[in-house]
């Protein structure tokens, strides 16, 4: 996955993501595609979650998946998850769950709970940083005011080296793939460098849905695992999603 939260020159926050899923799960030799990735595409849906006839939050997800990977609470915050691979991975959390150690939360359910119940960027950030999880994850959170954007790197029990937008230091965007931000990405899977190159070329005054979609359409940020692209603008309550394809030549991940 690749998630980006960026602030334009007017202090407006734009949040976008490519959802990549299905690595090593059945390569279709004929169509040069991942089988699960292709099967997920018809399941992509935008959902308006409503209570008392009012929107509580909006999300892009997969039909049949009750948790959330991408969502936005209009005028409050936007949130995406990127997978964090670790030997201390989710299977250990599942085993603990089966052994009746059930004080941790399932990752997608925590995201949904935060989208449903948190009322501000700060509250969302606190819940995502402090709640014990079954699996490691990267949470990318955007707000509706200048400087409100952060990457929360989660181990199962703690938050590691949070990184925030900082305009004074020239950090007007945050770009997260599937690697810790303080380490170099795997050289075989470097979407961070081309993504940042395109963001740097775009320049802060030009960031918009249009230019962020361009960044998320550049290979290998766009790759054979990319299922959908979502763009969100919290201040306007706007969420757009598109099912993607990556014609050859295209990286398998």
């Amino acid at each position: 996955c690749t998630s980006v939260v960026a602030e334009d020159s007017n202090g407006n926050l734009i949040h976008g993501r490519n959802l990549d899923f299905g690595l090593f799960m059945g390569w279709d030799m004929k169509n040069k595609s991942w089988q699960i990735t292709e099967q997920l595409k018809p399941l992509v849906v935008n959902i308006d979650f409503r209570r008392s006839n009012h929107t509580v939050f909006k999300s892009t997800g997969f039909a049949g998946y009750a948790g959330m990977l991408t969502g936005m609470k209009p005028h409050s915050f936007s949130l995406t998850i990127n997978e964090r691979f670790s030997m201390d991975g989710g299977y250990i959390g599942i085993i603990e769950w089966l052994l009746h150690h059930r004080d941790a939360m399932w990752m997608g359910f925590l995201t949904r709970t935060v989208l449903e119940n948190a009322t501000s960027y700060e509250e969302a950030r606190s819940l995502l940083s402090q709640t014990k999880l079954l699996a490691p994850a990267y949470y990318i959170l955007g707000g509706n005011q200048t400087g409100q954007g952060c990457i929360i790197t989660r181990a199962r029990t703690e938050s590691l080296k949070p990184l925030e937008l900082n305009l004074k230091q020239g950090r007007w965007y945050l770009l997260q793939t599937n690697y810790d931000h303080w380490k170099a990405p795997l050289f075989l899977d470097d979407r961070r460098t081309p993504g940042m190159k395109c963001m740097n070329q775009t320049l802060q005054p030009n960031i918009s849905f249009k230019t962020l979609y361009d960044v998320l359409s550049t290979k290998p940020v766009l790759n054979k695992l990319t299922t959908y692209t979502t763009l969100m603008e919290v201040s306007k309550g706007k969420l757009e999603s598109f099912v993607r394809d990556c014609p050859n030549p295209c990286m398998p991940w």
Binding site: A63, G67, C198, V215, T218, V243
Partner: protein, 123 residues
């Protein structure tokens, strides 16, 4: 073929929006989930519409599982054990998963597997 050699990158794209062309496979449809409904009913309308698509996806997962464990024991495990996990999930997710299984006609264990995919694949 050299283009597949990592790290393959291209020049930064421009003019891709509004989405069109070969990298755009379609717009995403909007649905409403009413949180005032009982959890078991919230997903009924959406799942009725998408039941064929989710059945196709589950079939591919089963085929891949069968390729790894040809005896079919892996899917047996999913169908027998994972429904028991659903009862341990916090409310309202336990009820929602049962509602999704009921509306789609897909066995509860396989719906549970789909919902636990992320945790399983972080290793």
């Amino acid at each position: 073929s050299t283009q597949y050699v990592p790290p393959y990158t291209e020049e930064c794209r421009t003019g891709m929006y509004p989405p069109q062309g070969p990298t755009f496979k379609g717009a995403v449809t909007w649905y409403t989930v009413d949180l005032d409904l009982p959890p078991s009913k919230r997903w009924s309308a959406l799942m009725s519409e998408k039941k064929d698509d989710i059945a196709n996806m589950i079939k591919v997962i089963k085929d891949i599982a069968d390729a790894f464990v040809p005896s079919g024991k892996l899917i047996d495990f999913v169908d027998k054990v994972l429904p028991l996990i659903v009862d341990t999930l916090p409310y309202p997710y336990d009820e929602e998963l049962k509602g999704i299984a009921s509306a789609s006609g897909v066995p509860l264990g396989e719906i549970a597997l789909f919902n636990l995919f992320y945790e399983v694949f972080t290793v």
